[in-house]
């Protein structure tokens, strides 16, 4: 069974906007933005695709400082994912183009995906 090659690149938060701008100018499209809670940090994946080539930018956010700049000014569809990671993980994404301010999903608890109940 064959599987596609996937490139995952670790970057710092400060590199996010310039890297995304380069990718968008190069013809990549945003595939998804997702978070994974790890033991000591929050892993944030920005996944892109061009001609079936999968490319992922990965940021490790300290759990004490969950803040990211929005990429929605460069990459328009990002606002949906950024609102989602805010509601589910409590990430404070600044300057989202359309900000639902915590009302994207109708949740009983704040940041339910940050609770460790494994």
């Amino acid at each position: 069974m064959s599987y596609e090659e996937q490139e995952i690149v670790n970057i710092e938060k400060e590199e996010l906007l310039p890297k995304v701008k380069v990718l968008m100018n190069d013809g990549y499209r945003l595939v998804q933005i997702g978070c994974t809670k790890m033991a000591d940090h929050l892993q944030v994946d920005y996944s892109f695709d061009k001609d079936y080539k999968f490319y992922d930018l990965r940021i490790k956010l300290p759990l004490t400082n969950l803040e990211l700049p929005s990429i929605s000014a460069i990459c328009l569809p990002a606002f949906l994912y950024e609102n989602e990671i805010h509601d589910l993980f409590g990430v404070n994404v600044t300057n989202i183009s359309i900000d639902f301010k915590g009302k994207f999903y109708r949740l009983e608890k704040d940041a339910p995906f940050m609770q460790d109940d494994k």
């Binding site: 069974m1 064959s2 599987y3 596609e4 996937q6 013809g27 499209r29 945003l30 595939v31 998804q32 997702g34 978070c35 994974t36 809670k37 790890m38 994946d45 996944s47 079936y52 999968f54 992922d56 328009l76 569809p77 606002f79 949906l80 994912y81 359309i98 639902f100 009302k103 994207f104 999903y105 109708r106 949740l107 339910p112 995906f113 109940d117 494994k118």
Partner: protein, 359 residues
């Protein structure tokens, strides 16, 4: 400046099979902006990966949505199989292609029926769903279920179809295709259908790419992108090209789906011809440790599963990005500038699946 009115569309609406809310900002009868509002059926299914053994998560994945059920199972299983380096038997891979393409036929027939109903063509809706019923009977015969089949498992499939049954089903598919062709001709040639859907909901090729559209919504704007071209699983053994239309309107999106049904019939015949004898599942030893972004093509477009295991029986993360989630922003672009009366047809044209979107 004209006076603006806001009209709520949804969450309950006759054309919507599932709840989504759009605030349509109108100037006279023209929609100038649409503001989405989702979250009515968010179930937090992804969190269940921490409570359910990884082999049981395929049942959760299948229940993300009833229409896309089987392919959700395939995408999940594929991700785990990659992490665990499992070699899925060829028979299982081609059975997955068969059931996956039959799911695509089912999904597109469901949409074609709803689309006909949305424009008031009720007899066409009933005929399309009559044909869909024959597809559901094949599902029931081969898997025991009409909507959620539980046919996929990590390592292969849980159910087999013997070769005699496969040959009989191949003949039945020919009959269903003949029956369907009559209805497809109505979608292609009928003046009412063309007139109702042409030149509305325009999504240019540039916007389709920039806004991250996927699936038939993207292919109707002239971009030949189909995740089956990654040749995952049994798709390495079948021949096809992405179906593309260039008109960028609702009618083009309808035509992509009409033609994909024919393509799926052909893919199923190819899978049946090439299916070898053998096992249907590999033995699964141990637990997944690693990560992978599994990408497959749902009837609505690209779906991505991020799966991460830490070597225990429970996954660390199971994140799904479904095609309707990606198509929401293109929808907002399509709907700007349309007449209010065209809004339901445009919204339906992306084939929204809100259960998938919200999980």
């Amino acid at each position: 400046m004209a006076k603006q009115t806001i009209i709520p569309f949804g969450p309950q609406h006759p054309v919507l099979p599932e709840p989504i809310h759009l605030d349509l900002v109108l100037e006279d009868e023209v929609v100038v902006e649409a503001i989405p509002n989702i979250g009515f059926i968010h179930r937090g299914l992804e969190l269940l990966c921490k409570k359910k053994p990884f082999q049981d998560m395929v049942f959760v994945a299948e229940r993300i949505c009833g229409i896309c059920s089987f392919i959700h199972g395939v995408g999940f299983c594929q991700g785990v199989e990659k992490i665990m380096n499992l070699e899925v038997p060829k028979r299982a891979e081609l059975l997955r292609v068969f059931w996956g393409e039959l799911s695509r036929v089912h999904s597109h027939l469901l949409w074609l029926g709803l689309a006909a109903d949305a424009i008031g063509f009720e007899s066409l809706f009933m005929h399309v769903w009559r044909v869909r019923e024959r597809v559901l009977k094949i599902f029931e015969e081969t898997t025991g279920g009409r909507v959620i089949f539980s046919a996929c498992q990590v390592g292969g499939t849980r159910k087999n179809i013997d070769n005699d049954t496969l040959r009989r089903i191949a003949k039945e598919l020919d009959e269903i295709e003949t029956d369907y062709k009559e209805l497809a001709d109505v979608f292609i040639q009928d003046y009412t259908v063309r007139h109702r859907w042409s030149d509305i909901g325009i999504l240019s090729e540039e916007n389709a790419h920039k806004l991250g559209a996927v699936g038939p919504t993207l292919r109707a704007s002239g971009i030949a992108q189909d995740m089956r071209m990654l040749r995952y699983g049994g798709y390495v053994d079948v021949d096809f090209e992405p179906i593309v239309e260039t008109a960028c309107d609702c009618y083009a999106r309808c035509m992509v789906r009409v033609r994909e049904v024919f393509q799926s019939f052909d893919l199923m015949r190819q899978a049946i011809d090439k299916i070898p004898d053998g096992e249907i599942a590999a033995k699964v030893n141990g637990f997944p440790e690693g990560e992978f972004f599994s990408r497959v093509e749902q009837p609505r477009g690209e779906v991505v599963y991020y799966i991460r295991g830490d070597g225990t029986n429970f996954l660390d993360r199971f994140r799904i990005r479904t095609p309707t989630f990606a198509n929401i922003h293109p929808l907002l672009a399509m709907i700007g500038g349309c007449a209010l009366a065209d809004a339901p047809a445009i919204i339906l044209s992306i084939d929204p699946c809100i259960s998938c979107t919200e999980r």
